[in-house]
């Protein structure tokens, strides 16, 4: 009898796991609002829906009329750690928020999830949302290669900047900002918020490779 109880419990456990996996497999992919299937500079930015660190959905097309910054992000990457130690992203998000700029961090790291994003937001007291893209769909849509990899979308929904956060790649998390560093995102946001065109619309992103899930 005891053996039977034990077996039954394991069976229940196995069924539960099975059901969870099935429901995950049945969940539809985020709905695409239009036919844009890849991010091209000067073209409409592809729409997406991702859950933020609180579990609330964030849809890009809902932010039309605002300038949106997408920051590809991985808290385990030394390049990201350096910019968070320096306060680069937070300072930019704070500076441009009142000018109608929405900052969104996207975490495509396949082994991280909403919980780890929530922990990071709390730890770093981030004033913006961190989106969970651990399935890698939005990362592939934007061809995000590195963390950080930065994208700026203007008020009309056009992709106007794609590239690095700045001009000097440094991987040591304790390193200060090198002399003569040009922050391309700051420059582009400053131009956009004063009604100008983005003078440097693309640069080579630098950082760790985005940790997409290995192909099954």
């Amino acid at each position: 009898m005891k053996k039977a109880n034990c077996l039954a419990l394991f069976l229940v456990a196995a069924l539960w796991v099975g059901a969870a996996t099935y429901s995950q497999a049945q969940n539809p992919a985020p709905e695409q609002a239009d036919a844009v299937t890849s991010a091209v500079l000067g073209q409409p930015a592809p729409d997406f829906v991702l859950k933020d660190h609180e579990g609330k959905p964030a849809r890009l097309s809902d932010m039309r009329g605002k300038i949106v910054v997408l920051e590809w992000f991985n808290p385990d990457c030394p390049f990201v750690k350096r910019h968070y130690n320096l306060g680069t992203m937070k300072a930019l998000a704070d500076r441009y928020r009142e000018k109608g700029v929405v900052w969104l961090a996207v975490n495509t790291t396949h082994y991280l999830n909403q919980e780890s994003n929530k922990k990071w937001v709390k730890e770093k007291r981030l004033p913006y949302r961190v989106l969970d893209d651990s399935e890698g769909e939005v990362g592939r849509l934007y061809a995000a290669k590195t963390t950080p990899h930065m994208f700026i979308i203007d008020k009309k929904g056009t992709l106007v900047y794609a590239g690095g956060i700045d001009s000097k790649p440094v991987g040591n998390p304790d390193a200060l900002l090198a002399e003569g560093t040009v922050n391309y995102v700051d420059k582009a946001l400053s131009e956009l918020t004063s009604g100008k065109d983005v003078a440097i619309p693309k640069s080579k992103p630098y950082g760790c490779s985005v940790k997409y899930a290995p192909k099954k």
């Binding site: 109880n5 030394p78 919980e115 590195t146």
Partner: protein, 303 residues
């Protein structure tokens, strides 16, 4: 009943292990990259060139990067300190591995190990009993996570008119893996044509024999952007095209862009040949091989 509880615990643990997605940083082992400074002679002889080598040993599955890392990563950097009057040549990089990571992220670098070679020519005469050599190296090692590393390597070599070689087999092994310089009789291809139109470069190579598995590895400077790269090999012809733009349109193009043609020379054996691309004038003759430079070379950007 007690037995039921006893099996309840493992059942719950099984459930937890299977239903909660794994989230957390993968473990970072100790000693991923080891660096050692070696020289191909046991002593320095005035006026006689020698080679220094930075020998990297890399933990299996991890990699460090070439002079240009590809889509992500960071170049390995080498900076030398030698007494005044010593000429230091550019770092000679063995042909890197090409690795394609999930998300179509292409990288160039070394797994398991490499030997970066640095040619040095001492002055014809100098008055010192020994020569202190310092090499600062920094790298980024990656597997599931990336870990930056740096080390200062030092050695002091005696000065002697009668020097004997050292580490000969090791240097020979890695010299074999250097790319062939452009324009030597061993170069397995010739450039038939180079043209440029609206920043789009087209290069036509003709091989002496039909090559296998031809790939092009560019090494653009930091302020260049490469796009629309295409390399097609058909028989003895390779046609390469790519668009080069400057990040800052105000800045001029550099004279040259370094690149390598990588190919399978014999089955399973990867070789490389240098292909310098003249950016300023696509019609200009290709430059000769790089020589020793007087200035102390600093590779890449500082970190």
């Amino acid at each position: 009943m007690r037995a039921f509880h006893a099996c309840l615990i493992p059942a719950v643990l099984t459930l937890l292990a299977l239903t909660i997605p794994a989230a957390g940083q993968p473990e970072i082992p100790e000693g991923i990259v080891r660096g050692e400074l070696i020289c191909d002679y046991r002593a320095v002889e005035p006026g006689q060139p020698f080679q220094l080598g930075v020998l990297f040993q890399i933990m299996p599955e991890w990699h460090i990067y070439w002079r240009y890392p590809g889509d992500a990563g960071l170049p390995t950097e080498v900076r030398l300190e030698l007494p005044e009057g010593f000429e230091i040549g550019p770092v000679r990089w063995p042909v890197p591995d090409i690795f394609m990571q999930p998300g179509d992220i292409e990288g160039y670098g070394y797994s398991s190990g490499t030997l970066l070679l640095i040619p040095v020519r001492p002055p014809v005469a100098f008055d010192a009993p020994s020569v202190p050599i310092t090499v600062h190296v920094s790298w980024l090692s990656c597997l599931e996570v990336c870990v930056p590393g740096r080390k200062t390597l030092r050695m002091e070599l005696p000065v002697s008119e009668n020097r004997s070689p050292a580490h000969t087999a090791l240097f020979d092994e890695w010299v074999e893996r250097l790319p062939l310089p452009y324009g030597t009789p061993e170069t397995p291809f010739e450039i038939r044509d180079v043209s440029v139109e609206n920043s789009m470069f087209r290069i036509h190579l003709e091989w002496k024999q039909s090559p296998r598995k031809v790939q092009w590895i560019p090494a653009p400077d930091r302020d260049l952007l490469l796009e629309q790269v295409q390399s097609i090999t058909d028989g003895r012809q390779t046609r390469l095209q790519f668009r080069v733009e400057r990040v800052d349109p105000e800045k001029p193009f550099p004279d040259l862009m370094h690149s390598l043609i990588v190919y399978e020379s014999t089955p399973g054996n990867i070789s490389g040949a240098e292909l310098p691309v003249p950016l300023k004038s696509a019609q200009a003759p290709f430059p000769p091989r790089e020589g020793l430079t007087q200035a102390k070379e600093k590779e890449g950007d500082g970190s």
